[in-house]
Structure formats: C-alpha cells, structure tokens
C-alpha cells in the first residue's frame, strides 16, 4: 500500500485503541493524582456516560472538560481537531445525536445519555464513508487539519437540507431548500479551511448529495 507512514499509522492505531480501553479506567486516576497543589480549589470529578461511535463510554471528568477535550485527551479520539477552542473555526465539529455542533463549546458532563459521532465513527482508512471517499477523490483538503470537521459538518448538513431547514441564502422560506452550490457554501461556512480547499470540498459534497438524491 502506498502511504506515508502507513505502517506506523497501522501500528499506532492499534496502540491507540488499546490505550483507549485502558484510558476509561485511568482517566479519573490521572486526574486525581495529587500535584503539589492538589486539593486546593479542585472541583470534584463528575461521571458522565454516553456513546461515542456506537461504543458506550463511562468517564469521570473534571467538569471543565469540554466535549472536545474528553474525546481527544480522555478517549484518544484525536480525529476531532482543536483549531481555536472558541467556536470560531469548526475543526472540532462532531455529531451530537445526529446534529453537528462545535465540541469545543460544550462541556462533556452536559451530555449524559447522548450518542456522539466523530470522524472515526464515520469510516476508517480501509472502509471510507462516502463523504470521506469523495473528499479524497476531489482533493477536498490539503493540510488535513480542518478535514474531519468539514466531513462531519457536511454529513449533518445534508441531513439538515433533507429535513427542510432553511439557510441564509434560501430564497423562499416556505419552499424546500435546494441542493445548490450557494446553499452548500453558506451552510458549510462554519468550517474554515485556511488551505482554501473550498471549491473542491463543495465538489465532493455535491457528488455525495447527488448520489443520495
């Protein structure tokens, strides 16, 4: 297989998965580990349970932990990216019960009982989700850092159109929104790509949307 550090990636994935299993147990232990100032003003840890990519997860977290950091640091699901940590870039987009959100601007403990889907839950290198495959085909990325957010956002965005949710560029609020480029661009505008792959991303989404229609 042609790949960059393909063997490394393969190996790393396995390690990450193993570490993840262990992490469920170790997270609270780590957070409770006393530092020099432990105990002073330390907020008590809280439990939260939700499913991530179909797997039930039970976490004990500092209440300050965002959903993004819970995914990346506690569960080692680093596919979801931290670009700004302030809701200004969209790199952290995940699906919460099917709806796209910025995972940096919500606390993990606020979501007991929910189902979270990250880019890892959509597909894997050997079984790409159609949206992932379309991004590869249309070169809908460059550095790759905004890419998971773009893909999660695109998947949920097409569902929003399907559900008839209008957008800023929908001409007639009473009519069903159309799958035009202008609609896709407006609806994807919460996902910044500094490499400027926008034109290709819209081509990728259009292909997927077309095959859905």
């Amino acid at each position: 297989m042609a790949s960059p550090p393909q063997q490394e990636i393969g190996r790393r994935t396995v390690i990450a998965a193993a570490a993840t299993t262990a992490a469920i147990g170790t997270v609270p232990a780590r957070a409770q580990e006393p530092g020099p100032g432990a105990g002073i003003n330390a907020a008590p840890l809280l439990n939260v349970s939700f499913t991530v990519n179909g797997k039930p997860r039970d976490l004990e977290l500092d209440p300050r932990t965002t959903l993004l950091d819970a995914l990346r640091e506690a569960l080692h699901l680093t596919g979801t990216k931290k670009g700004c940590d302030h809701g200004q870039c969209g790199a952290c987009t995940v699906l919460l019960d099917g709806h796209r959100i910025n995972s940096c601007l919500t606390l993990a403990v606020m979501h007991p009982g929910t189902a979270i889907t990250t880019v890892e839950g959509l597909g894997s290198p050997d079984h790409l989700h159609p949206m992932q495959a379309a991004f590869v085909k249309h070169d809908g990325y460059q550095c790759g850092y905004c890419t998971p957010g773009q893909i999660c956002s695109a998947v949920a965005m097409l569902d929003e159109i399907e559900a008839g949710i209008p957008s800023h560029v929908t001409a007639d609020l009473d009519a069903r929104p159309q799958l035009t480029s202008a609609e896709l661009r407006e609806r994807m505008s919460g996902n910044i790509c500094r490499c400027g792959a926008y034109s290709n991303i819209v081509d990728a989404i259009t292909e997927v949307a077309g095959s859905k229609a």
Binding site: A43, P63, R64, G87, N102, I165, R187
Partner: protein, 316 residues
C-alpha cells in the same frame, strides 16, 4: 477556566432556587458564549446550573394568536419552525444570518439575547474595559473601533450588542418571560431588556441576579413584508457591521430596528413614524444622537443605504 461545581436543574423553579443558593453561579444552556468567555476568565462562575433539561424547548401558539418560544429552543429550530417562517420571516432570516450551522444547533433563544459583546478589548483581559472590569476605562473609544457603536453608547463604553436575533425580536415587539429565585414571574418588553451602558456598561440587562428567562413571546403577526439585511465583510460566519430588520406594510408604514450600531437593538418610535418618507428620514431620526468615531462613521451612510435597499425590495 476557574474550577466550578456543576448541577443539572430539573425545573425552572429548581434552577432559580439553585441560583438563589449560589450567588456566584451562572445558568448554562447552549454554552456557546459562556464557555468561550469562561476559557478566557472573562466569565468565572464558581457554580454552573445546567438548565438544558428544563423542558423549555417548545414553540407554542398563544391565546392571542402569537407564539411563545421556550428559552431553550435552539436557534436552528426556531429559524426552521414553519409558523416562524410564515408569520415572522424577519426572525427566521435574522437567525439564519447569525453564526454558523453548528453554533445555531446549540445556541438557545435566551442565550442569544444574553450574549455578550464581541469588542476585542472586552476579550483581551490585558486591556482596560469598563464592561469587564468596571472603572478600568474603555480601550475602544480611542482605539480600534470600526465595529463599534455609533449611537446609544457612552463615554464609558462603545461596545455593540452582537445578536442578529435580538434585532428581529425588537422589530417584532417580542417580550421576555422570566422567573426569579423567589418564583416570581414577570414579562419584560424586549425594548427594556437591554440597558444602555451609561456609567455602568457592566450591567447589560434589567435581569436581576438569578432571574431566569423562560420564554420569549411574539405578539400576533403583523403581516407586511419582512426583511433582515445583514451587512458584513465576509459573506458568512461574521458579526454584522450593520443590520436592518424591517417590516414594511403595503401603505409604506412600518417598523425598523438596526443591529451593529448600538449597545442594543436600535429602534425608535419616531423613526418608525418616518417610514413612509423613506430611508433618509428614518436613518436621520435613528441617528439623531449618533456620535460616531473616525473609524465607524461609515455605519451611518451604510445603514441608510441598506435600509433604502430593503425598502426598494419591499416595494418590489
């Protein structure tokens, strides 16, 4: 972000009670603005009361033909509601012009009203800001202020209110329902919810400590042609330089509120009365007390031109 304790309230009464018990607490719903600010320690509550389970997420018809929008209705859901799209198009349009799809999916009706300014000096804790640290001064007045208020501001603060939704709510004469920690409810006309900065820009609304917004009520539809025109540098995912919410009746009468120009949605009865005369007269009245800076003076002609464009569109 300062450490905080966290609890999930099950009812408005419980939430209000928790707020009374913990004066250092904040309600959290969507969290899209609060957490942003907590990360920078511009907000630093010691206790968070999660109100998301409060069953305030419905949009219901009122007995007088209006709509009661629960405080927790997400911006996406409010914008997409068929009744809102049909009878309150200006509100749908304003919501859809704001933020991004992801943010609208989390941001709530009440939270949107209570969001804080995007003044960059407010966001930078190294800088003086009377809103963030009362008495420290205003860095924006003689600083970078292209985005700032041209009217309704004070010598203490020239920040704008960043909401699009609130501007539409204002032109619709919405009212805000609240419950306080004692369980007392009240209705606040949207016009009175936000305060002008005066000498106390840190006090942004008339809400009392622990008072929780439970709903926003839209009066009976007014009909007319409804418009929301948002002007910004980039085409999406940006705050307004100027926005115009307008309802224009066939006889040329109507209402207008502006966003991006003032510390609150900017609407004056006297300006509404000028609607039949056109944009120049309306803008002249809205901006009679305007005190722009060198960098934001463009907002005056811009708002007038945007309004003229909206009125032309309304005439068809």
């Amino acid at each position: 972000m300062k450490p905080f304790t966290y609890e999930r309230a099950a009812s408005p009464a419980e939430a209000a009670e928790a707020a009374a018990r913990r004066p250092d607490s904040k309600f959290i719903a969507g969290g899209t603005n609060l957490l942003d600010l907590m990360k920078l320690q511009i907000e630093a509550p010691a206790h968070l009361i999660d109100v998301n389970a409060l069953a305030l997420d419905r949009i219901e018809a009122t007995s007088d033909g209006g709509l009661r929008v629960g405080a927790l209705v997400r911006n996406t859901d409010l914008a997409a509601d068929q009744r809102v799209r049909r009878d309150y198009a200006v509100l749908s349009r304003a919501l859809l012009a704001g933020a991004s799809g992801q943010l609208r999916n989390r941001a709530t009706t009440a939270g949107n009203l209570l969001q804080r300014t995007r003044c960059p000096y407010f966001s930078d804790t190294n800088m003086a800001c009377n809103k963030r640290r009362p008495g420290s001064g205003c860095s924006a007045i003689d600083g970078i202020n292209r985005q700032h208020a041209v009217v309704g501001a004070s010598a203490a603060c020239i920040a704008t209110h960043p909401s699009d939704m609130a501007v539409a709510m204002r032109v619709l004469d919405a009212s805000v329902q609240t419950v306080n920690p004692k369980g007392v409810t009240r209705t606040i006309p949207i016009a009175e919810l936000h305060r002008l900065p005066g000498d106390t820009p840190n006090v942004e609304t008339v809400l009392e400590a622990g008072e929780l917004i439970t709903a926003v009520t839209l009066p009976k539809p007014t009909g007319g042609s409804q418009h929301y025109r948002k002007v910004r540098d980039r085409a999406s995912y940006a705050f307004a330089l100027v926005s115009v919410a307008a309802i224009v009746q066939p006889d040329g009468s109507g209402r207008v509120a502006l966003g991006g120009v003032a510390p609150k949605p900017w609407r004056l009865d006297a300006a509404d009365a000028e609607m039949p005369k056109g944009a120049k007269a309306v803008a002249g009245t809205l901006f009679a007390e305007a005190r722009p800076t060198e960098h934001n003076a463009f907002k005056l002609p811009l708002a007038e031109r945007a309004l003229a464009s909206v009125l032309a569109e309304a005439r068809g």
